[in-house]
């Protein structure tokens, strides 16, 4: 037993037991908790070296809670990395989620059909390419260098937001937390004293899902704060990437409007006498640069549906709701209208008209669009998988 890492600390706990008995006496506890197990006599030898012991010889009070641990003290159980074939495993290699991982788990995408995602990547690359290749260069000289520079920053923002939304963990919850649950009935919890929610058990992930989490069939994992599974980004939109998804939608609309406006300006300038053109008719301008017209038309074509999407999500953000909750509410409303559901009230979303999560417009926008902890991942796919060193067995 010479390799105990927590020797000094363990001594402290033995010594301090005698003090907590006094506390238990003060608080009415009548149990003798000074239990000695076999094999702990060796710990007594190093006991006086512990710095905190002298301070605890006096009767313990609540103020003594402020004794500071030594700097290298850790109260987490020691973990050892999991290995398979003598190679370190990362968390994503143990994840049952239907996700495709890349760059040792830093890049996450769904294993669903990737064709819509590839199409959207193509569009996001092609429209700026035409804009900068034909419109940007001309406007740099004829109007101002600021026009293509601002367009470049907007485009970079769109690309980064899209990359972050599509390739980051959307908020996947760890599996098997409630694996040995005694029962799997829904559990009722009260939300802000006014609403009751029932937490459902996920049979696939073996966890009681927190409120607003749902299981995504395509990703085969429970996603916290799920909004929807986006086929165009090939990933769920959840707690972690909803802020960057909103940024992506908003900036895409702004950027497309910017492209449209300056494509029109460019076409107009081509009819004038400028550095790149001579005075000509509109048809001549179109013949000289059909790419401007293409950018104008394509940008408007995508601007309209994206503006509707943005408006829909702006409304959801204001009322602190999600797409999935809206669909559920609509389904329940329809069922009620058809008379399939008598009375109502058993569903937390129909008991009253108000959304139980709503906090007021400003707080709703803060919570939905700038979610605290959206950089924090529960699943930590790229981290090296660890297991409790106290448990036996070397494998997974």
């Amino acid at each position: 037993m010479s390799l105990l890492p927590h020797n000094a600390f363990y001594n402290a706990s033995r010594y301090r037991n005698s003090n907590s008995i006094k506390l238990a006496g003060l608080t009415g506890g009548d149990l003798d908790i000074r239990g000695d197990s076999d094999g702990d006599t060796h710990t007594q030898t190093t006991a006086p070296t512990h710095p905190a012991i002298s301070t605890t010889t006096a009767t313990r009070s609540l103020s003594s809670v402020s004794s500071t641990p030594p700097p290298d003290f850790s109260s987490s159980p020691r973990t050892i990395p999991i290995r398979r074939n003598n190679r370190l495993l990362r968390n994503y290699q143990l994840s049952p989620a239907n996700l495709r991982f890349c760059c040792s788990g830093h890049i996450v995408t769904s294993k669903d059909n990737p064709i819509p995602f590839i199409c959207s990547i193509f569009l996001v690359l092609a429209i700026p390419a035409v804009f900068f290749g034909r419109i940007g260069v001309d406007l740099w000289y004829t109007l101002s260098p600021a026009v293509p520079i601002i367009a470049a920053y907007l485009t970079l923002l769109v690309w980064c937001s899209m990359f972050k939304t599509a390739f980051a963990d959307p908020g996947v919850l760890p599996v098997d937390i409630d694996k040995n649950a005694v029962d799997t009935f829904p559990r009722d919890v009260s939300l802000r004293h006014t609403h009751f929610l029932s937490l459902k058990y996920c049979e696939t992930c073996h966890i009681y899902r927190p409120p607003r989490a749902s299981h995504c069939r395509l990703c085969n994992s429970c996603v916290d704060g799920i909004d929807h599974h986006c086929s165009f980004l090939n990933i769920c939109i959840g707690r972690r990437n909803y802020p960057s998804f909103l940024t992506f939608c908003g900036l895409t609309v702004v950027t497309l409007a910017y492209y449209t406006a300056f494509a029109a300006v460019h076409l107009y300038q081509l009819t004038q006498d400028t550095r790149v053109s001579t005075s000509q008719s509109f048809g001549g301008a179109l013949r000289q640069d059909p790419a401007s017209a293409v950018v104008f038309v394509v940008a408007i074509l995508f601007l309209i549906p994206l503006a509707f999407l943005l408006a829909y999500h702006a409304r959801l953000t204001l009322i602190n709701s999600t797409t999935i909750e809206q669909l559920r509410e609509k389904a329940v409303d329809r069922a009620r209208k058809d008379g399939e559901l008598g009375g109502g009230g058993e569903n937390p979303f129909v008991g009253d008209d108000s959304n139980p999560f709503s906090l007021g417009p400003v707080a709703n926008v803060q919570w939905m669009a700038f979610r605290p902890g959206s950089n924090y991942s529960h699943a930590r796919f790229s981290a090296v998988a660890q297991r409790d060193a106290r448990r036996g067995g070397g494998g997974v």
């Binding site: 149990l31 003798d32 239990g35 609540l62 980064c160 990359f163 409630d178 694996k179 040995n180 004293h193």
Partner: protein, 176 residues
């Protein structure tokens, strides 16, 4: 550590559920839950008999999430009966309130707005160099848990585990 396998088997056979009526999540064989009576309270109220962080705990007590403050991650500070005789109600409440307070500070909405805006404007490169307000507080939770465990919970034969590994869905207290 010749007794580690013995401890593990003991832990497996005697694991019970506790306050939240749920047991440990990892490495359990499923049949034990179904063949054994699910509620087994024989370990509670007994003195500490295992070594903290060296042996496996005899029980795992889970504190549920508290949704009364909304969606912010908080834990119920109701004193679980299983801890009776080990730790005082006040001491327990101070510890849980301290953890809740750290989480509440981490969820500061204006700091989140600031972090997100700066991160977006810097093309999401700021988060490579700078910890966000949230991450700072979550890492300070580890330090606070060390403090609480060292000064009040470990002397009583208990150890609060960091809830990070279970997505902050429960606050787990090991019972030795």
């Amino acid at each position: 550590m010749d007794n580690s396998s013995k401890q593990a088997s003991n832990f497996n056979s005697s694991h019970t559920s506790s306050h939240s009526s749920h047991s440990n999540h990892s490495n359990h064989s499923n049949h034990s839950t179904h063949s054994n009576p699910p509620i087994n309270l024989k370990n509670f109220g007994t003195p500490q008999s295992h070594r903290i962080l060296i042996d496996l705990p005899r029980e795992l007590i889970r504190l549920d999430r508290d949704y009364r403050a909304g969606e912010v991650w908080q834990f119920k500070s109701t004193f679980p009966m299983e801890l009776e005789g080990r730790i005082g109600v006040d001491e327990f409440k101070i510890a849980v309130d301290h953890i809740n307070n750290i989480l509440l500070q981490a969820f500061n909405p204006w700091m989140a707005v600031l972090d997100h805006l700066l991160d977006t404007l810097s093309l999401y490169t700021l988060s490579w160099f700078k910890q966000s307000h949230f991450q700072k507080h979550i890492s300070s939770l580890e330090k606070s848990l060390n403090h609480i465990n060292y000064s009040s919970f470990n002397p009583a034969g208990l150890n609060i585990l960091n809830p990070q590994s279970i997505a902050f869905l429960y606050l787990e207290i090991e019972f030795y």
